[in-house]
Every structure is written in C-alpha cells, then in structure tokens.
Symmetry: C2
Subunit: 262 residues, 2 copies
C-alpha cells in the first residue's frame, strides 16, 4: 500500500486535494474513523442530549462549538468541511445533494458532531481471528431497524438501528469480550441470537446495506449502529443537516487502541 | 436510621416538603447523588461540550432539555427545582442567594445538568476497608486548584480542581482499582503522590474544604473534582447560574453499582 495512505494527516490532505474520492475503509489502518453529523445550533443541544442518552448508537468522539470546523482534539489541523471524501446534504429531511466540499454551505451557526464508527471494533475482531462475512463478501454490513426505542431528547426520537454480523458459535463470547473494550465505538452487542425478539422479521432483507450468508454453525450478533442518529436527525426534518456519505468517513488522529478501556 | 431516609423517592419528598434541610451525606445509602448546574440555554451547548471534553471532573449523569425540570432517566417524578435541600444562585458569577426552592427563578430557557459525585466511589472505597480521613475527622474533603488546564469549550476554561484523600501506602493500588470501576463519578485518580507536580504548594492549605492529617505511611491521592465545572461556569460570569449548595446534593434513583463498569 502507498505509504501516503497510512498516515491520517496525509490521507486527509489527499482527500482535501480531491485526489481520493473513495470509501475510507482500509485507509490509515489503525486510526479511528468517525461518522459526521452537522446541524443548526438551534437543534444542537437536543441532538447532544440524544447522543448522551443513547451512547451505544451515538458515541460522541468530539463535538465542536458552533461555527468551528477544526476538530482540535481528535484531528488538529483538519477541516471538517473538506476532509471527508463525500458528503450528503439534507434539507427538511430530504437528500438534496452529494458534495465533495461543503464550504459553500458553511456558516457560523453550524455544529458538528463526530461519532464513533464500528470500523474500530471490526479491526479488533479480525485481529482476534474472527472473520467478518460482509468484508469477506466485499459487501456493506447488514443494517436493520429494530423495535427497540431510543431514549428521546427534544424533537429527536425513533427506533434503534443495528448492524448484524454472523459469528461462529465458538467465537460469540470472544466477540462480546473484544467489542466491550470499545464502548466509544458502539461497544458490546445489544442482542445475540434472536432477530425476531428485537423486531427484525427477515435477516435476508436488511433495511440498509447488504444481506450476507449466515451459516448453520453461526449466530447473528447485533450491535448498535451509527445510522441511528442520522435517521433520527433526519426524521425531525431540520432545515439543513450535512453528514458523511455512507462509507466515506472522517479519519481522525486517534489510534483505535486509544478508544479501548482496558 | 429512619427508614424514610433510605428510599431516594421518600428522601426527595421530605426535602421537597422542607423537612430535611441538611447535607445529603448518608441519606439514601447505596443511591448515587449528583452535583447540579443550571445555566441559560445560550451557554448550555458550550457547557455540555466542556463536560464532554473533560469527563473526569464533569461526568454528565443526565442533562435536561431547556425548561425541563424532571430528570426522567435518573429520578423520574423528581423536580430539580425543589428536591435539593439548598441551592446557590449566582448572578454574573457572584453568589447572590441561597434558596430552598428555585421555582421563583425558573423559566423555559434554563438547562439543567446532573454531574456524578464522588460519594459513590467513597462508599466503594469504605466497603473495601479503605478508611477516608475527612469522614473519620468529620470534615469536608480537601480540595485544591491545580496547574493542570482543562480542555476549553466556548467561553469555558480554567484549571482542574481536585480532591485529595490520604491513602495508606499498602492500599494505593487497590484504591486505583476500585475507583477505576466508576468512570462516571470521577473514576481513577488523576495523580498519586507529588502535589507539587500538579501545582499544589501546600497540602495543609486547601483551596476549598478542610485540611486533614496525612500520616507518614500514607500517600496523597488526587481525584478530579466536581467543583471544576462550577468554578469554570462562574468564571465566565453568566447572567444566571444555579447550583446545589456544597454537600447538599440531588439524590437520584440510580444505585451506586449502576455506575460501575465491571
């Protein structure tokens, strides 16, 4: 791999220069990637409350003062407006544009949230010899809307969205142990084994992402998903919300291991 | 002890009726008590950012939407305006009143934060046979302003305030282990042993609270203190801030053990 792709600052610089329009999976390995949600200030406090009340789907890695676009704690020198390969712009809850640069939308009223992403714990699982079907199949992870309510905050409410990974029955306990070490990137599973118990009728029909094979000796394991806050934010139909485009994450300077608790 | 003093709802009710004007230490044992900070909405997002960036001194147990006064997650049915035995009211950073009821000050613009309190980990230390000098001496814990900066957020900035407890040298490691289990109530120590290394010149002259004896075979151990966010909030001289009065905490329905991570 090109060494320019291993350093988070260099990767962000290539993205900023428009030379890396691709999903960020595999870039700057070992460094934590983040979901991005940008909201008007009038909604930011309630969105922050929503995240604080639902830390498993909405683990805040860093949030910025209104108008600020440099994440000084997790990626000093970065610019949240140009350092993500692809953004989505939503107006009144509707997708209106995909952009490679959002400086044209920026104003001093905008509040940015960087939320933990499951890439971190997926790396830890794979290092422990637990293979991940969607990666082996070259697909996006399977995501489902459950019937588990989140804890509402102000106008923000809605069901928990989860990812599902089929885990060999001999590795389920180990997968709980490994992901429990990473509470700021979704942490331990929220459910193991019975999709119907959390309102999922058919694993072969995910609400987002792709379906994957589940073998006879595998158990479906469910983790809280960072799509939850985006779905909830859009449901309230705010005048403007900007997020990363799926798979095109913000790359921080934090090591994945910085996010472990033990 | 009167059984009415053991149930958090009954204790809050006695406080609300004006029948329990006293520090809350020892009331509703086993239940978590909280620091209270109430701010105008215009400052609330930045104060929330400050807490998120400084989780050791500012562990948010619950925060409420503007105007809300019922902590539905940590104490459903409670009223933050009348369920604390004694409040302090600050205008432009100056203490202007102590009150037993703040409904007269309340308006729909006010945002309330409940922050974890060290009573929880002190209970755990004592259960493990680690005696606490300030409790044995019937004093308030020793608190010091350090030269360790907090991570600023908006107008909020200032030094970390710490508590100090003398721990027998044979129990220092155990005290780290025990308090590490409680990250949402200040967690592990921030320093062990050398007060001058964190800007404390004289342990016999605390900035807040009382001095206590330190014996030859004891080590001073320092934990982040909930006075930090109050000191920082007042330094920015907001038009109105209301807090609990020292020692007169808000009693939640959370068990101390609910706040442990292992």
């Amino acid at each position: 791999m090109n060494t320019a792709y291993t350093n988070p600052r260099e990767v962000r610089n290539l993205i900023r220069l428009g030379k890396l329009l691709r999903p960020t999976c595999g870039l700057a390995p070992g460094y934590a990637q983040a979901n991005l949600v940008i909201l008007p200030q009038a909604l930011a406090l309630d969105f922050f409350l929503f995240c604080q009340r639902n830390p498993k789907p909405c683990p805040v890695l860093e949030a910025l003062e209104a108008g600020n676009y440099e994440p000084v704690l997790t990626a000093p020198g970065a610019d949240i407006r140009v350092d993500v390969p692809l953004y989505r712009v939503y107006k009144e809850g509707e997708l209106t544009a995909e952009e490679r640069d959002i400086t044209g939308y920026w104003n001093s009223d905008m509040v940015s949230f960087l939320l933990g992403c499951s890439f971190t714990f997926e790396t830890a699982l794979m290092r422990a010899g637990i293979s991940l079907r969607h990666i082996d199949e070259g697909k996006n992870v399977s995501m489902y809307v459950t019937d588990i309510p989140t804890v509402p905050a102000g106008p923000f409410a809605g069901p928990l969205v989860v990812t599902m990974r089929p885990i060999h029955m001999s590795k389920v306990v180990r997968s709980v142990q490994i992901t429990s070490r990473f509470p700021s990137v979704h942490g331990a599973p929220i459910h193991i084994g019975n999709p119907e118990k959390i309102g999922i009728a058919d694993l072969s029909k995910p609400d987002y992402g792709d379906a994957v094979e589940i073998k006879d000796d595998e158990v479906p394991v469910f983790w809280a998903c960072g799509v939850t806050p985006q779905a909830v934010a859009l449901k309230s139909k705010p005048p403007l919300v900007i997020t990363h485009s799926p798979g095109h994450m913000f790359i921080t300077d934090l090591l994945d291991e910085d996010l472990s608790v033990s």
